[in-house]
């Protein structure tokens, strides 16, 4: 008991030392970040699971871009207890001069199979439950759409030349879960109300709601994989929410962000660890002088460290709970009904993982501690600094963490590569500058040569200090730069985009109508690229649905994409690898993939990609990869095939492009849409508004992240200054005892910190530069164009901050008397 009490007392006392506080603050900040992330994520996961149970509207849902043939549908019906077929399409609805993009659902007489629809007479009316969808000739729209179109129950709405009577405001559909996180405005009509052809679009989907017993469900699932390759299947029991993988990817990205934060925390902890180690070695040697066995002493040291860790868990948990509550309140806008509740198991798992990571960082210290000897109190044995072991354990743990978390190996690889390059540069610069400075100063008098001499004496410690500060500078600079550049890009979007109206999708007959309409209204069509809707179903015979890795690219490819054809490389593309086909080639089964898609999916040249197009499979051999280059329009495709392939593909051609509208033409748009509701035109203003919303979220997240980076950078700086304060006190004391003035000590100190900060800043900038070059284009589609003035200002701010903190620390140490300084 006495020992436990002693362990707690020691731990508590250590906590009040400078290093103890920095170490505790760093651990707490990191754990706070991870715990907040975990709790928020667990809430969303549990929300999604509950949501799946309550909101599927059937036992099984199959959604496919293509419909079943009549024969297949009859076979399907015979396998199930109940079947409801609904069709979904994105259209533009108009009412007088108002218009809005809408997700239209066409339902049959059986809809819904389970649960109820909630409708009302006005957007604010009391809701009532009904068990059937709208009758033929009627339409229901959601309250936001009713407000947007300025319409009310009883009005007539025209879609594709057909008038439908608005008979109710739609509040809830039982199969709402299938909409995922879409916040699109919704409308519902009976399938027989509209001519099917008038709402065809490449994004059209057919959804089959099924009720069946367990055995039938298994048979249906198996059957659907053969009949409808590329269809998504969602089961009520044992299934996964369609949003689950999206959320997992978000988590993984945040995971990578936490890896970077952990890296910074590891630097601060390593700096404090070295002093902790010296203190513990001394403590253990003294314990040994009383006859305490090494094992007991080691257990006590571990106990002291553990006690500190437990305290940081308590602090971090309290802070995380507060932050979690605030974040959940914010997220309720995106996940209605999301609640902040206790998630003990995930929280414990995160604490466990964090514990193991910290332990990994602590391993070199404990190994050294186990070698602590009483002999060190009798004589001063030579001690190795174990720099390489520490570096190895730090890098190994962070790399493993990164590998475990990342869903984007390219981004992770680039980030780690930029960090490694910056660290190497900093080590080389430190050794070169200090050694050259020392050689230069050997036959010179003055404080600067002496400063180089002193730095040369503690080259290893200096390198660690430079690397720590430089790494923080790099991460801080990169986070700030990315935020700034994303903002600038956003602002520049309007100027760089060709035209002020984007043609997101148009059918062949609609293109003619657009051209005629443009001529009438004085608008100009700037660009138009053809494509067919195609879904990648397998790679080298392996079904895409069997691939489970969490990846944005894979998730996108599980839905139909746009496949374009061209013989010449488009002007806004460049060849990134492989061989582009020659014009008029007969070998139409060739394909070029966008280079990032290729890397993310792990494709190789020669791979066979099978696409489901218009219900038929087509094989293409991957022969080239292309990449986007700015300057000639913004439309680029992930996959492109030779022109000769078009003749072989049996599917309707669709187009995307851009237009420039003069001001009076905007009012005439409603007429065009009334005639062609599936024509997808997106005004640039709307596009930038959507982008603004996304950017708003991104800014909030990156802002919070930058604040964490800044906080950890401060911890590293504090650890760095605190680590050398004892050395500095001794050095200053000695110098003053030799007759140097206080101002000389301050100058010497300034040289020391100035050189450190300059090398760290050089490394940080080089790292940011390489990270910018590597990551900007590949990950954010931005051209890296560093603003020299901004970079210079940042470097100046960094060097000034480091020197100022060093100066303050030195002034503090100079306040102590020479006698005291000598005694340390």
């Amino acid at each position: 008991m006495n020992r436990v009490k002693l362990v707690l007392e020691n731990s508590w006392r250590d906590l009040w030392g400078g290093d103890g506080r920095i170490s505790m603050a760093t651990q707490t900040a990191l754990l706070f970040f991870l715990m907040t992330l975990t709790l928020t994520s667990a809430s969303i996961q549990s929300y999604l699971a509950d949501n799946l149970d309550q909101m599927l509207g059937s036992d099984l849902v199959i959604e496919s871009p293509s419909s079943l043939t009549e024969g297949d549908e009859a076979a399907f019906r015979s396998m199930a207890v109940g079947l409801s077929v609904t069709q979904l399409a994105d259209i533009t609805m108009t009412h007088k001069e108002e218009w809005a993009r809408v997700q239209l659902k066409l339902v049959d007489d059986f809809y819904p199979l389970q649960g109820n629809l909630q409708i009302g007479d006005t957007p604010v009316a009391t809701q009532r439950a009904v068990s059937r969808g709208p009758n033929v000739g009627e339409i229901w729209i959601d309250s936001r759409l009713a407000i947007k179109l300025r319409t009310q129950v009883g009005d007539n709405l025209t879609i594709g030349g057909t008038d439908l009577r608005l008979s109710a405001i739609l509040f809830h559909e039982p199969d709402r879960i299938m909409e995922g996180h879409s916040v699109a405005m919704r409308a519902m009509a009976h399938a027989q109300s509209l001519d099917g052809a008038s709402i065809n679009s490449s994004k059209g989907r057919t959804r089959y709601l099924v009720t069946a017993d367990e055995k039938q469900l298994q048979a249906i699932e198996k059957w659907s994989r053969q009949t409808l390759p590329g269809a998504s299947v969602i089961k009520k029991f044992g299934g996964q929410h369609p949003l689950a993988s999206f959320w997992q990817r978000t988590e993984n990205f945040l995971g990578l962000a936490s890896v970077i934060l952990f890296f910074m925390g590891a630097v601060a902890l390593d700096m404090t660890n070295r002093r902790w180690l010296a203190k513990m070695r001394y403590r253990l040697a003294i314990y040994a002088s009383f006859g305490t066995r090494t094992r007991t002493a080691m257990l006590m040291a571990l106990g002291e460290w553990l006690a500190g860790f437990l305290l940081s868990i308590a602090l971090a948990s309290m802070l995380a709970i507060v932050a979690y509550g605030l974040i959940v309140a914010e997220l309720q806008g995106y996940f209605p009904g999301l609640r902040a509740s206790w998630h003990v198991a995930p929280a414990l798992k995160t604490i466990g993982l964090f514990f193991l990571l910290l332990l990994a960082l602590q391993v070199p210290s404990f190994i050294q501690l186990s070698r602590a000897s009483l002999l060190s109190l009798i004589r001063n044995p030579a001690e190795s600094s174990y720099v390489w072991q520490r570096l190895f354990w730090s890098i190994a743990s962070v790399t493993l963490l990164a590998a475990a978390y990342s869903d984007n190996m390219l981004l992770t690889g680039m980030t780690l590569m930029a960090i490694a390059a910056a660290l190497t540069l900093m080590v080389v610069l430190t050794w070169t500058v200090i050694r050259l400075g020392d050689v230069w100063g050997r036959r010179r008098a003055g404080l600067l040569p002496f400063a180089f001499f002193m730095m040369r004496q503690r080259l290893f410690a200096k390198s660690a200090q430079v690397m720590g500060l430089g790494l923080c500078g790099l991460l801080l600079l990169f986070s700030l730069m990315l935020m700034r550049d994303l903002g600038t890009t956003m602002e520049g979007y309007g100027r760089s985009h060709d035209g002020n109206l984007m043609i997101a999708e148009a059918q062949a007959d609609q293109v003619d109508a657009i051209n005629i309409w443009a001529e009438k209204t004085g608008s100009s069509v700037r660009s138009m690229r053809p494509f067919v809707s195609a879904q990648l179903v397998s790679v080298n015979g392996k079904a895409l649905s069997d691939m489970q890795k969490p990846s944005d690219t894979l998730a996108t490819l599980k839905d139909p994409i746009r496949l374009s054809w061209t013989d010449a490389m488009p002007k806004n593309n460049r060849l990134d690898g492989g061989k582009w086909w020659s014009a008029d080639t007969d070998n139409w089964r060739q394909i070029s993939a966008e280079s990032e898609v290729m890397t993310d999916m792990g494709f190789s040249y020669g791979d066979t990609l099978t696409y489901q197009i218009g219900g038929k499979p087509y094989d293409f051999k991957l022969v080239a990869s292309h990449a986007y280059q700015p300057g000639a329009g913004s439309i680029t495709f992930w996959f492109q095939v030779p022109l000769s392939a078009r003749a072989q593909i049996d599917a309707p051609t669709r187009y995307m492009g851009s237009m420039e509208l003069p001001e009076p033409a905007w009012d005439a748009l409603a007429g065009l849409w009334q005639q062609y509701p599936t024509l997808s035109l997106v005004p640039l203003q709307e596009l930038t508004e959507r982008f603004d919303q996304t950017l708003g979220i991104v800014t909030k997240v990156t802002g919070g992240y930058a604040a964490m980076v800044l906080l950890l950078a401060l911890f590293v700086l504090a650890a760095s200054v605190s680590g050398f304060s004892a050395d500095d006190r001794q050095k200053n004391g000695l110098l003053m005892s030799m007759g140097l003035r206080e101002s000389d000590c301050l100058r010497l100190n300034f040289y020391d910190w100035g050189v450190t900060a300059l090398i760290a800043a050089a490394g940080a900038i080089a790292g940011t530069w390489s990270a910018g070059l590597l990551i900007y284009q590949a990950q954010f589609n931005l051209t890296y164009n560093p603003d020299i003035l901004w970079v210079a200002a940042m470097v100046f701010a960094m060097v000034a901050t480091v020197c100022l903190v060093g100066y303050l620390a030195c002034r503090q140490s100079l306040k102590v008397s020479v006698r005291h300084l000598m005694a340390t």
């Binding site: 009490k5 006392r13 001394y282 002088s289 009383f290 006859g291 066995r293 009798i378």
Partner: protein
């Protein structure tokens, strides 16, 4: 039969980058727990190494060391569990006050009355009123008195002292020396002191001179 440490034909050396330095060769002696022993000799003769070997901290390059406690032969670890140390640099824990430093060995051994016993020892060494003072608030002599009391407080079988008065003036040295020898005799504990001081060595029951690798009984 008292507890003993038998040094049998021990030799020791250490290696530098360019040469091997022989410290001593073929030394034999038996240290008993009922006597006090001083080892004197010039700097670099290997006194501290001899002390470390006798205390079981180091293994000699040649020969062997036998530790006997309560009539049974024990290993170095058990020997160390029954030993105490006094250092030239005092080595008190800077974060603990005087009584905290004194109570530390007892607390590590799980003694519930650690602070009461420490208070008695503090009074014994004349520092009762300094109980709450930290090491940096004490003089060198006071720190070493605490260190001496700390070494004896857990009632070890042997105490090893490495230049215990090396950092003290003559007057303080004498009072610390008196305290050490009195405590050793009072507790029936073996005391092995390495020192340069002939005056201090003269207080011991036996005195050995280590010079040029040879161990001789000092005059």
């Amino acid at each position: 039969m008292p507890d003993t440490i038998e040094l049998n034909s021990i030799s020791h050396h250490f290696d530098t980058a360019s040469e091997r330095i022989e410290l001593f060769r073929d030394l034999s002696y038996t240290i008993r727990a009922d006597e006090t022993l001083a080892i004197i000799g010039p700097s670099g003769a290997g006194k501290s190494s001899l002390l470390s070997i006798a205390a079981g901290l180091e293994i000699p390059a040649g020969g062997n060391v036998r530790f006997t406690i309560d009539g049974a032969e024990v290993d170095a670890l058990t020997m160390r569990a029954n030993s105490g140390f006094i250092f030239q640099q005092f080595h008190l824990m800077p974060e603990l006050d005087a009584i905290g430093n004194l109570a530390l060995p007892l607390r590590l051994k799980g003694n519930r009355d650690a602070f009461d016993i420490a208070a008695i020892w503090l009074e014994k060494v004349g520092l009762k009123d300094r109980a709450r003072h930290r090491p940096h608030q004490l003089s060198g002599g006071e720190q070493q008195r605490i260190a001496v009391a700390r070494a004896f407080v857990a009632e070890p079988r042997f105490i090893f002292a490495d230049e215990p008065t090396g950092n003290l003036d003559r007057h303080t040295s004498e009072s610390v020396a008196a305290l050490m020898f009195d405590c050793a005799r009072e507790n029936g504990c073996g005391l092995v002191i390495v020192t340069h001081s002939r005056q201090l060595a003269m207080r011991a029951d036996a005195s050995l001179l280590l010079d040029a690798g040879q161990l001789k009984v000092a005059a």
